[in-house]
Symmetry: C2
Subunit: 133 residues, 2 copies
């Protein structure tokens, strides 16, 4: 019995390099993150923006999450952060090419969701109906 998650049995779904896999999961988890997706969208549609302008365009986000998400995106090279040394502070965020390309890669999933919206909702209703009965 392999209780150690580090240990992989030969039966483990395993032709893929675990390093790649980790990064893939990681990246997808981050991008699929509610806010990251929205921020990519906003930055793509409106171009370079400063902190408060972004916040205004994303209702419901807290300062904390905005900062956190932008930092993460910066760390991954999805945005560049430009500090203008003026007072009051001015910081601008811009999508990098990498950020843009990630947005595009995600279009596949996005359009899948649009295309199969009805199917999924029908499946859900069916399942919920069966469960109630």
């Amino acid at each position: 019995m392999a209780t150690d998650p580090q240990m992989r049995s030969p039966e483990t779904y395993g032709e893929i390099d675990p390093r790649i896999e980790a990064l893939v999961h990681d990246l997808i988890a981050q991008v699929a993150d509610k806010w990251t997706m929205i921020l990519i969208e906003v930055l793509h549609d409106h171009g370079e923006q400063r902190f408060t302008r972004i916040a205004e365009k994303v209702p419901g986000i807290s300062q904390k999450m905005l900062t956190q998400t932008l930092r993460q995106m910066e760390r991954n090279g999805l945005v560049v952060r430009t500090i203008h040394p003026v007072v009051p502070p001015k910081v601008e965020y811009r999508l990098t090419d990498l950020g843009v390309s990630l947005g595009e890669a995600f279009c596949g999933v996005w359009t899948w969701a649009e295309d199969h919206l009805e199917t999924v909702e029908t499946a859900r209703r069916g399942f919920d109906g069966r469960a109630t009965a």
Copy 2:
């Protein structure tokens, strides 16, 4: 000040139907879920499998998460669950066409991650280096 997340100002990134958007986020959040992705992969590579066989192929997953994730996938129409009324119980899970198509839609992101792995890691090292300095 619009503190109500339901209320959308005209400046809100807003040409998209919010119903579609909600479902898209929802779906992506679910698919991007660590386990769902892995389960799609396993079921795709190995075909119809029963509960314990799946568990063996996914080290680190708890019974709880396996059940939960499979149920969610079933509800969304990504898998079908077949109960064989024997004892001890035998339940098999199979990817639906919808499930397969979702896996394919996700390939774009998957390959993006593979293609840009180096870029992302470099960006991270740069960021972390700057932070330490």
